[in-house]
């Protein structure tokens, strides 16, 4: 058993060792934090991609997405064709006072109209200002970083697999054709 006070001295030794070291505290407003690209700060909207399918609003666990739209007639492209109608987005708003930052809306969106941005400095004095309308949500779009590259052991994206399969098929087909052609040549000579 060590003598009384040795524990205190051991603790003080740690303090002394750290006293001369550089501080690890980041002085936030002066030193902005470095956030990784996946950081879930705010949701950005790329309006052109939105087809008003309402999947995000329906999948949202806290119902914080508001969407209004109307239908508009589009004149036919070819002559004699039928008139078509498309959905036009009137309002797209996310109430960040309700949002739980789960990202389900972004996952649910089939057209990549929603993206995460690591921006986080949008505190407000009035809770009603936390409802971001579509023009404000579009502003966030310009802060969206590129997604990080994946680990070498990650599975290939399905686009590559499909492209590869198509290429192999084409190669096999052309090879088959070439073989046939040579056989034809052999028969002809």
């Amino acid at each position: 058993m060590s003598s009384w006070g040795s524990g205190l001295i051991r603790g003080l030794r740690v303090t002394w060792q750290n006293l001369a070291r550089r501080s690890v505290t980041a002085q936030y407003p002066d030193a902005p934090p470095e956030l990784p690209p996946r950081s879930r700060g705010v949701i950005a909207l790329f309006e052109e991609n939105c087809t008003v399918c309402m999947l995000c609003a329906r999948e949202c666990p806290c119902w914080c997405i508001y969407i209004d739209s109307h239908k508009e007639a589009v004149p036919p492209v070819e002559e004699g064709a039928r008139e078509r109608s498309t959905n036009v987005l009137d309002r797209f708003a996310i109430d960040y006072s309700l949002c739980m930052y789960c990202g389900i809306c972004i996952e649910a969106c089939p057209f990549d109209a929603l993206e995460w941005s690591p921006e986080f400095e949008y505190a407000e004095l009035d809770i009603r200002d936390l409802t971001h309308e579509k023009d404000r949500l579009r502003e966030w779009m310009w802060t969206v970083p590129a997604p990080p590259g994946l680990d070498p052991a990650a599975a290939e994206p399905k686009e590559i697999a499909t492209a590869q399969k198509a290429a192999e098929k084409a190669a096999a087909a052309s090879q088959g054709q070439a073989a046939e052609e040579t056989r034809d040549d052999g028969g002809g000579s």
């Binding site: 996946r38 666990p61 590259g149």
Partner: protein, 399 residues
């Protein structure tokens, strides 16, 4: 001759230099009982736990934890959420062990579906669960000394937490509510180079955690406040269903990672990386020591997982899911060793896309239920030391 009575009050009343705790023998003077409310807004309760304490002088004769100030009806909400939305709620009842709580839900659904999880996902989940455990324990390693009046250790603990949180944020995008588990695997694959950064973070934390131990664990004031205080016997542990590091500190050798293994734990136990440590005394001091032990075990496990992830062949990290995911009719109980103890989900499905019932057994609720037994006979100054050493999260009690 009047007997001289030394009465200790407040933080210094911890039996120093031969003074008795709490003013001598009980029943020495005729006193009137006083009812004292600790909380719901007391800083020592980490939230809104309320203890209704009956005092005889400085000595506690009765304690009644009054819970429910933070009740959010999470079990009822589970019933109207699909299996992806449930994860959002599951990582919020115990905000310090978000990843491990998510894990219970997805494992229950996977078991119902009979779904096989890709090997890379299993190891990545184990890695993240262990980093989450270290994060959780570091929080309590910092906050418990604060309750005893030592402010310094929390700065060291938070430096370590920040190091680990950075890699957790890089992979999942969240600092507390990771929302990274999905039925059948993980949400996304690891970013390039993440394994190197994770292994550097684990190494840095392993190097610096002994500083917390040196700072406080052998400190004489800390020893005086914690040693022999709030002893829980193994009988009491089993009577109240106490689990996790608190149970192991009392010598109850029970750890689901070894006793009912899930994820990659069977292999890790075989390799001898997973060590289950138990204490003997069951007092506040051994409970704190248990956290220190578990952090180092968790870091070892994390290293083993990183090494394994490096050697695994290329493969997917999740399963392709149908648009509408329905668990088949039936029931299952999935329990996991969360940082604070056993976390269980009893999932009953009637084939809908939402569970018919999802019962949540949270660790903190049972761990806090034992408080009246432990606190009876203690003094007020020890109450804070005992309450802090029960390592609970109020959201996990009230659900």
């Amino acid at each position: 001759m009047a007997e001289e009575r030394v009465v200790g009050v407040g933080a210094g009343a911890a039996g120093f230099g031969g003074y008795d705790r709490g003013g001598g023998e009980p029943g020495g003077l005729a006193t009137q009982d006083m009812v004292l409310n600790i909380g719901p807004q007391h800083p020592a309760t980490h939230g809104v736990l309320r203890l209704r304490i009956t005092l005889d002088g400085e000595r506690i004769v009765g304690c009644e934890p009054i819970v429910g100030y933070m009740h959010r009806g999470v079990e009822k909400l589970f019933e109207v959420r699909d299996y992806r939305q449930i994860i959002v709620l599951a990582n919020r009842h115990d905000w310090l062990s978000a990843f491990s709580s998510e894990l219970g839900v997805v494992m229950a659904v996977e078991r119902m579906l009979g779904m096989e999880v890709p090997e890379r996902a299993v190891w990545a989940r184990t890695l993240l669960a262990e980093m989450n455990r270290a994060l959780n324990h570091l929080m309590f390693l910092g906050s418990y000394p604060i309750e005893l009046g030592a402010i310094t250790p929390i700065f060291y603990a938070f430096r370590e937490r920040e190091t680990l949180q950075q890699v957790m944020e890089e992979i999942s995008g969240g600092r507390m509510h990771y929302m990274f588990n999905r039925v059948g695997g993980l949400k996304e694959d690891l970013p390039a180079g993440w394994l190197d950064r994770a292994s550097a973070a684990v190494a840095a934390v392993r190097r610096r955690v002994p500083q917390i131990e040196d700072l406080i664990f052998g400190n004489e004031i800390f020893l005086a406040r914690t040693r022999g205080v709030g002893t829980i016997s193994p009988e009491l542990i089993s009577a109240y269903g106490v689990s996790g590091p608190i149970a192991r500190a009392s010598g109850v050798d029970f750890d689901l990672r070894r006793d009912e293994p899930y994820l990659a734990y069977p292999e890790l136990a075989e390799e001898g990386v997973l060590r289950v440590t138990t204490g003997e005394d069951g007092d506040c001091h051994s409970r704190f020591g248990m956290l220190l032990e578990q952090v180092s075990v968790s870091l070892d496990l994390a290293d083993a997982c990183i090494a394994r992830l490096r050697s695994l062949p290329q493969g997917p990290i999740n399963q392709r899911l149908p648009k509408i995911l329905k668990a088949p009719e039936g029931a299952t109980y999935c329990w996991t060793e969360n940082p604070l103890g056993i976390n269980g989900y009893y999932l009953v499905s009637r084939g809908e896309k939402t569970p018919w019932r999802l019962k949540l057994r949270s660790a903190s609720f049972n761990n806090i239920a034992v408080l009246p037994e432990v606190l009876r006979g203690c003094v007020v100054a020890d109450m804070i030391a005992i309450l802090g050493s029960m390592f609970f999260v109020v959201g996990d009690i009230d659900k």
